[in-house]
C-alpha cells in the first residue's frame, strides 16, 4: 500500500542489506564537516593571526571558543557536559529545583508540550476526518478550509496564541501545546480522510450486502483500512508537534525549553550551545518517531499484516 503521505519517516535502516552504505555516507559527511571547519572559521581573529602549517591551523579551528562552525566533537562534548556532566537538580532556599543548566531539563519542558499537543492534535484530527467522511456537507464546507488553514504559516500565529492566551492567564505549557496541536492536526486529518475512504467500492458494497450499519462499516472496514495511513500521519505529526513546541518558545523569550536555548544561544553567539540544543532536539525527534514506528509494527502485526 503506497500511501502518498508526506515524508515516509522512520523506514527501517537495514531493510535492503547492510548498514555499510549508511556508515560510509555518514563518515563522508563527518569528514566534510571537519574539513569545512577551517574555511568557515577563517575570518575569526584567532585564525587570522595564527601562523603555522595547515595542521596547526586546523587544530585551532577545531577547538575555538565561539566558532562559526564548531567541530562535531565539540558539540558532543558540550552535549555530554550539559546533560550527564551537570546535575539534574540543584539545592536552593526552596529545596531541590530543576537545574536550568542541564539540557535535559529544557528538553523535558519542550517534550511535555510536544506530547500534550500531539495528543490534542491527533484526537482533533481524527474527529475532523470522521466528520468529513460521514457528512457530505461537512466534507464540502470544511475540507477546503482545513487545507487553507495550513497554507497560512501557522507558526507565524504562535506569538498571537501565546499573547492571547497569556492575557486570559494561560501561560507555559498550554499555549505551546495548542500551537503543536494546531500544527499536527492537519497531517492526521488528511491521512485519515484518505485512509477512511481507502476501502474501494467492492468492499463497501460487500458491507451493504451484509446489511452492515454505518457504525459497523466504520469499525469493521474503514477504521482498520485506515490504520497504515494513521501511523504514517502520526509520524509526521509527532515531529511537527516538536517543531511547534520549539517555535512556541521563541517569540516570547521563554525561560526554559530547547527553543529558549536556541534563542539565548543566538543572542550571545554561543554557537556550540545552539548546536547542542539542535542535536538534542534531533535525538528527541528520532526517539519519538521510533516509538510510533514500534507502535505501528505492533498494531499492524496484531491486525495480521505480514512484515
Amino acid at each position: 500500500m503506497s500511501a502518498a503521505s508526506s515524508a515516509h519517516v522512520g523506514a527501517p535502516a537495514g531493510r535492503d542489506g547492510s548498514a555499510i552504505p549508511v556508515l560510509v555516507i555518514t563518515a563522508l559527511i563527518l569528514a566534510a564537516w571537519y574539513a569545512a571547519c577551517l574555511p568557515m572559521n577563517s575570518n575569526l581573529p584567532q585564525l587570522q593571526n595564527a601562523a603555522g602549517d595547515l595542521m596547526a591551523r586546523y587544530q585551532i579551528a577545531w577547538a575555538l571558543e565561539r566558532p562559526v562552525l564548531p567541530a562535531p566533537h565539540q558539540i558532543v562534548v558540550e552535549l555530554y557536559n550539559a546533560t550527564i556532566g551537570t546535575s539534574l537538580f540543584r539545592q536552593t532556599a526552596d529545596g531541590m529545583v530543576p537545574n536550568p543548566r542541564n539540557l535535559s531539563f529544557h528538553a523535558w519542558v519542550t517534550l511535555s508540550a510536544t506530547l500534550l499537543g500531539f495528543v490534542i492534535g491527533s484526537v482533533l484530527g481524527i474527529a475532523i476526518a470522521v466528520g468529513i467522511v460521514h457528512s457530505r456537507t461537512l466534507s464540502k464546507s470544511l475540507m477546503p478550509w482545513v487545507i487553507v488553514s495550513q497554507t497560512i504559516p501557522i507558526l507565524a500565529i504562535a506569538p498571537i496564541i501565546i499573547v492571547a492566551l497569556g492575557s486570559v492567564g494561560l501561560t507555559g505549557l498550554v499555549p505551546k501545546s495548542i500551537i503543536s496541536a494546531y500544527l499536527c492536526f492537519f497531517p492526521v486529518t488528511i491521512g485519515m480522510v484518505k485512509g477512511l475512504t481507502s476501502p474501494d467500492t467492492m468492499q463497501l458494497d460487500l458491507m451493504r450486502t451484509y446489511n452492515g450499519s454505518a457504525a459497523q462499516t466504520f469499525w469493521k472496514l474503514r477504521w482498520p483500512a485506515a490504520m497504515p495511513f494513521l501511523f504514517a500521519s502520526l509520524k509526521v505529526a509527532i515531529t511537527i508537534s516538536l517543531v511547534g513546541a520549539i517555535v512556541g518558545e521563541l517569540p516570547t523569550g521563554a525561560q526554559a525549553g530547547l527553543g529558549a536555548r536556541l534563542l539565548s544561544g543566538s543572542y550571545f553567539g554561543q554557537t556550540i550551545q545552539i548546536w547542542a540544543a539542535l542535536f538534542y532536539a534531533a535525538v528527541l525527534a528520532a526517539l519519538l518517531v521510533v516509538t510510533i514506528t514500534a507502535a505501528e509494527r505492533a498494531t499492524l502485526r496484531a491486525m495480521g499484516a505480514r512484515p
Binding site: V68, L142, V148, A156
Partner: protein, 323 residues
C-alpha cells in the same frame, strides 16, 4: 422545464425561500453589526444563531446534489462556509465585546490591511518573493536531483535513504539561528533556511515515488529493453508525480514557515516575521493579524497554483476521481 416535478430534485421555490430568509436575517444582523453598539440580549444572539442555521441549511441542500445550483457547489459551499465563519467571528467579537488583544474583529483587520498596504507589500516582497520562493525552488530542485542520483547509484540510495528519513524528521527550523549567523540578517539567510527545510522532504518523497511504479510495468519496460533513462522518463517519473507534488505542496507551506520564523532570529527592519514579532511586542495585534492575513492569502495562492498544476499533471491518479 416542462413544469413536471422531477422526483428528488428540489424546486426553485425552496431555493428562493432559503435566499429570502437569509437575506432578511443577514440584513438584520448587518444593521446590528454596523451599529457597533449591539443589544447584547438574547435577540442579538438569536439572530446570529438563525443566520448560522440558515447558512448551514443552504450548504446542506447545495451539497446534497439536488439543488439547481449543484454544479457550482464545489466552490460555492466552502465560500458560504467561510463567509459564515467571518460573519460569526465579527458577531461574537462585537456582541461579547471580546478584547482586541484576544481576537480583533475581521472588520478591524481589514481596515488595518487597507490602511497599511505599503508596509505589508514591502514585507511580502522581502519574505515571500525574495526568501520563500527562491529558497523553495532551490531546495526542491536540489532534493529532486539528488533523488535522481540516488536512484541511479544504488549505493548512494542505500546510504542516503536512512539519513534522509532521519533528517526529514528533525526540527530543521532550529537551524535558523545558525544560518542567520552564517549568511547575515538579510533575505539570503532566510532563503538558506528554506532550502535546508525543503530539501529532505523532496528527496524522500521523490525516492518513494520513483519506487512506486508497479512491478508489471517495470517488467514491461525491461522486456522492451528500455534504458534506465528511458524507463525513468516514460514510466517512473510519471508514476512519481503524485509524490513529487505532495512534496512540492508540503514544501510550499514549509517555505512560508521557514522564511517567517527565520526572521524571529534577526532581520533588517522589514519582513513578515519581523513585523509579527515587533508588533506583538507592542501589543498591536491588529497589525499582526493583518500580516497573517497577507501570509494566509499568499500561502493559499501558492498552494492553489500547485494544486492546479497537480490536477493537470496527475489527472490519471485514483485520488483525482470525484464522487
Amino acid at each position: 422545464m416542462s413544469g413536471a416535478i422531477v422526483p428528488g430534485r428540489q424546486g426553485g421555490w425552496q431555493t428562493f425561500f432559503q435566499l429570502f430568509n437569509i437575506a432578511c436575517v443577514g440584513t438584520l444582523l448587518a444593521m446590528l453589526l454596523l451599529d457597533r453598539s449591539p443589544a447584547q440580549g438574547w435577540l442579538y444572539w438569536a439572530i446570529t444563531g438563525a443566520f448560522w442555521l440558515l447558512a448551514w441549511d443552504i450548504n446542506a441542500s447545495l451539497s446534497s446534489g439536488r439543488s439547481p445550483f449543484a454544479a457550482a457547489a464545489g466552490w460555492l459551499v466552502p465560500l458560504i462556509f467561510g463567509g459564515t465563519l467571518l460573519v460569526l467571528w465579527e458577531a461574537v467579537c462585537i456582541g461579547a465585546a471580546v478584547p482586541t488583544v484576544l481576537l480583533p474583529a475581521p472588520s478591524l483587520i481589514a481596515a488595518k490591511v487597507a490602511a497599511s498596504t505599503p508596509t505589508l507589500w514591502a514585507d511580502f516582497v522581502q519574505t515571500v518573493i525574495r526568501a520563500a520562493i527562491p529558497g523553495w525552488m532551490m531546495g526542491c530542485l536540489a532534493g529532486f536531483l539528488l533523488a535522481l542520483a540516488c536512484d541511479r547509484f544504488d549505493f548512494l540510495r542505500r546510504g542516503l535513504i536512512p539519513i534522509g528519513n532521519f533528517v526529514s524528521a528533525l526540527p530543521m527550523i532550529g537551524i535558523a539561528p545558525i544560518l542567520v549567523m552564517w549568511f547575515g540578517f538579510d533575505w539570503q539567510s532566510k532563503a538558506a533556511v528554506v532550502v535546508v527545510m525543503t530539501f529532505f522532504p523532496m528527496l524522500v518523497n521523490t525516492l518513494a515515488g520513483l519506487a512506486s511504479a508497479g512491478h508489471l510495468e517495470r517488467d514491461l519496460m525491461r522486456s522492451y529493453g528500455a534504458s534506465w533513462f528511458r524507463a525513468l522518463v516514460s514510466l517512473r517519473l510519471p508514476a512519481a508525480m503524485p509524490f513529487i507534488f505532495n512534496a512540492l505542496k508540503i514544501n510550499a507551506t514549509l517555505a512560508m514557515i521557514g522564511a517567517i520564523v527565520a526572521e524571529f532570529f534577526g532581520t533588517p527592519v522589514v519582513g513578515m516575521g519581523f513585523r509579527i514579532s515587533t508588533e506583538v511586542g507592542r501589543m498591536a495585534l491588529d497589525m499582526v493579524w493583518a500580516t497573517i492575513a497577507v501570509a494566509g492569502v499568499a500561502g493559499s495562492a501558492f498552494y492553489g497554483l500547485l494544486v492546479l498544476a497537480e490536477r493537470a499533471v496527475t489527472f490519471w491518479h485514483p485520488s483525482m476521481r470525484t464522487g
